[in-house]
């Protein structure tokens, strides 16, 4: 992942959150949520500031950050695509949305979730609770329901045009995976 996506943390902002939310351990989850909603992930610098300026210890903070599925420690692309993998989506073909979008974004390494140019990050989520529209994905806050792989690719292309993002020219996979 390119370090270009690393966020620049504003210490004043972190101070402001601590002031609003609190310093005791019960503030741990809301503080992490505030950081993540600002930066899309949990930058190291922001985590350090929390530990320095609250009663929350590094053990507690990292323990909680690594426990919950919502939090990520890696930088995120400029746009996030959530692919729902609830039961209804699984039985109606959520996997094919992954195959299709991985192909469109030229992502082949299982460890990689963000396109090389930092445009889009793919994230599998447990359930969006929209099971009657299965299978579905969410780009930003827009939900696309009842889609197959080809329709997911089309929605991505449309989004990329509107957001002025360049999609990589897909290299075809050479071997079965």
């Amino acid at each position: 992942m390119s370090s270009a996506l690393e966020a620049v943390v504003d210490p004043q902002l972190v101070d402001q959150w601590i002031g609003q939310i609190g310093k005791d351990p019960s503030a741990t989850v809301p503080l992490l949520q505030a950081i993540q909603s600002q930066y899309g992930y949990l930058p190291r610098k922001a985590m350090d500031l929390i530990v320095q300026n609250t009663e929350i210890t590094g053990r507690q903070l990292y323990g909680v950050a690594t426990f919950y599925a919502q939090f990520r420690l890696k930088p995120v692309g400029r746009h996030l695509i959530k692919i729902c993998h609830g039961t209804a989506c699984h039985v109606t073909g959520a996997d094919r949305i992954n195959t299709a979008l991985n192909h469109s974004l030229n992502i082949h390494d299982p460890e990689q979730d963000t396109a090389e140019n930092g445009s889009y990050t793919l994230m599998n989520v447990a359930c969006v609770g929209c099971c009657s529209q299965a299978p579905l994905m969410v780009i930003g806050s827009e939900v696309f329901g009842n889609i197959n792989g080809a329709q997911a690719q089309k929605a991505l292309r449309k989004h990329a045009r509107a957001a002025e993002e360049v999609l990589p020219k897909p290299e075809k996979q050479t071997q079965a995976s």
């Binding site: 989850v29 209804a88 039985v91 996997d95 195959t99 609770g129 529209q133 579905l136 080809a150």
Partner: protein, 591 residues
């Protein structure tokens, strides 16, 4: 017709928005500026979104699957200058009810009574439907004991899945002597495939607040927490707005209704952990810890959040309380069976014609829910099983569809009622793959505290993976049974205690599918990638090139526009089935 006389109501829940409701609303407003256009919460008729109800002097019309394209035609008809838009029509005055509309009329809606009927952001809408009358009655005319007795009389049991009698549970906390007691609303709906709590929180938030008030009065709590999944942004938003409105109107805060009863509610957003649906894990999460369950006893009713007596009630349980107080416990108990009283909401999805939220009296058979209300299979293929209760539940085969929906009868099948996720599966679903899917989920969601849950779920999943790959042995089936029993018996909380259920039930009812994978290297559901092949049928192929374009590995080649010329190179094919989805003449065979 005068457009001013029209009231146009558009379903705008998460499903409606996903299907394009904002666009439809904007088009109605632009095309009929004089009409009253309102967005309401989701009616739970998700398969028909975007759903539009129009009240006109001629009567009520309902249209389904409306896009902005149909809007002008619908308005033309109402003006009297155009034809009825029959393909979208669901209900019209003086016409027999369509079978699609029976989806609603066959239901008995108590928990969902307001969903889709009101604008959740307007407290006046809720007040107009007897809102906050129950809590006013409770505070001014009833003692906490009487409230608990009324709820006990109703027979309502915890709708989060455990099914413990709610009134009895409250009694444990009420008997504790403590200045501080907590009431928690459990809206951490982590079961993939269940969305009734989302719909209630975003569609009728004041009903949940009133339910929390009633419960708080019944146990003597002064502070409440609403723990809501962060994945439900609209629910978090609408519930937050509702709290503000309730405070402003004097339904939340100090000395309510001129008495010494005070109650406030704080919202805690969950951060994505299935195990936090478990009571002690949920409390750990509110306290700011990793959401790991602890040993019971002491039960939360005795020593819960920050060591104080705490009652945790599920969203759906709370949504019944105001109705029970207004109509009486006996009226609620009149529905259902001896074992299970009242109604239950199910989230019907999968390969079903009419999916969405379904509320039926306990005792209704699974078959009636799937065929009468749900309309049967959506794929044309026969329905093979229904998955009930999510990752903690099990698969019930078609042969047992006459089982009545009540706690004891469902448990006897090996599945559980759970929170009410009901996923319908047709003959194209592989039951081994489904078991693997659920173990994938529980393996990740296990908090890691108990060895058998932490490691056992990984080992079970490995065996299932092996079978799906066609590398399983018959001994594996015995090993699965032994391991499942060990995980169930050696886990502290019900995550581990139920995690093997999907394996146990599919082995019990669909053992032949496991054996086909192992002995014949064949996947009867045509799902497992290692055991299937894709083939283009020469007779059907029109040479349209769509399959070639969709293929991520360049495995498909042929002459454009030459019928029957396309072929799949098996060395390159990864069996992803993307070509099958785009093939218009459906001539790609998977077996």
């Amino acid at each position: 017709m005068n457009m001013k006389a029209l009231e146009i109501i558009v379903g705008e829940g998460t499903c409606g928005i996903a299907a394009g409701a904002p666009e439809v609303i904007a088009t109605f407003k632009a095309e009929a500026p004089e009409a009253l256009v309102r967005g309401v919460s989701c009616l739970g008729m998700c398969h028909q979104e975007v759903l539009v109800e129009i009240n006109s002097p001629k009567g009520t019309y309902k249209y389904a699957k409306v896009t902005k394209k149909e809007v002008p035609r619908i308005l033309e008809f109402l003006k009297g200058s155009g034809e009825q838009v029959t393909e979208n029509l669901l209900l019209a005055p003086n016409e027999p009810e369509s079978s699609d509309h029976q989806y609603l009329t066959l239901q008995t809606r108590i928990a969902l009574r307001n969903v889709g009927q009101l604008d959740p952001t307007r407290i006046e809408d809720y007040e107009a439907r007897d809102g906050y009358k129950a809590i006013a009655k409770v505070v001014s005319q009833m003692t906490p004991e009487q409230v608990r007795q009324e709820v006990t009389n109703s027979g309502v049991r915890g709708r989060g899945g455990a099914g413990f009698p709610t009134g009895v549970k409250w009694g444990f906390a009420a008997n504790q002597k403590s200045e501080v007691k907590y009431l928690i609303c459990n809206g951490d709906e982590g079961d993939p495939g269940a969305f009734m709590d989302r719909s209630l929180l975003e569609g009728d938030p004041h009903n949940i607040i009133e339910g929390m008030l009633i419960a708080a009065y019944g146990i003597g709590a002064t502070t409440g927490y609403a723990y809501i999944r962060a994945e439900y942004p609209l629910a978090v938003k609408n519930f937050g707005l509702a709290i503000k409105a309730a405070k402003a109107k004097g339904y939340l805060g100090k000395n309510l209704f001129g008495t010494n009863f005070s109650f406030e509610i704080k919202v805690k957003e969950g951060a994505g952990a299935f195990v936090c649906g478990e009571e002690t894990a949920l409390m750990a999460s509110i306290e700011g810890e990793r959401g790991m369950p602890r040993r019971k006893p002491p039960f939360p009713a005795v020593a819960g959040l920050w060591g104080k007596p705490t009652i945790i009630n599920n969203v759906e349980t709370l949504s019944n309380l105001a109705w029970i107080i207004n109509k009486g416990g006996a009226a609620y108990a009149a529905y259902g069976t001896a074992d299970s009283k009242g109604t239950k909401v199910f989230a019907l999805a999968g390969t079903i014609k009419r999916g969405g939220l379904v509320e039926v009296p306990m005792g209704t058979t699974i078959r009636d829910v799937i065929y009468k209300i749900g309309g049967g299979s959506s794929s044309g293929r026969p329905i093979k099983a229904v998955q009930l209760g999510g990752p903690s539940g099990g698969c019930i085969p078609e042969s047992l569809f006459d089982t009545p929906i009540e706690y004891a009868a469902i448990n006897a099948t090996g599945a559980i009622m759970g929170s009410g996720g009901m996923i319908v599966m047709d003959s194209k679903t592989c039951m081994v793959d489904l078991a693997r899917f659920f173990l994938d989920f529980t393996k990740v969601e296990s908090c890691g505290k108990c060895t058998f849950c932490r490691i056992g779920t990984i080992r079970i999943r490995e065996i299932l993976e092996r079978i799906c790959d066609g590398k399983g042995k018959m001994e594996d089936l015995d090993r699965l049974e032994v391991l499942s029993r060990q995980v169930i018996e050696s886990s502290l909380c019900m995550l581990g205690g139920t995690a093997p259920n999907p394996v146990v039930t599919t082995l019990k009812y669909f053992r032949d599918e496991y054996e086909a994978h192992i002995k014949e290297h064949r996947c009867p559901g045509a799902t497992c990638k290692s055991l299937i092949t894709h083939k283009i049928l020469k007779d059907g192929c029109t040479g349209c090139t769509l399959c070639e374009k969709s293929c991520p590995t360049d495995a498909i080649t042929g002459e454009p526009k030459v019928a029957g010329s396309y072929e799949i190179n098996m060395d390159k094919c990864i069996n992803c089935s993307m070509c099958v989805e785009v093939c218009k003449p459906a001539c790609i065979l998977v077996e």
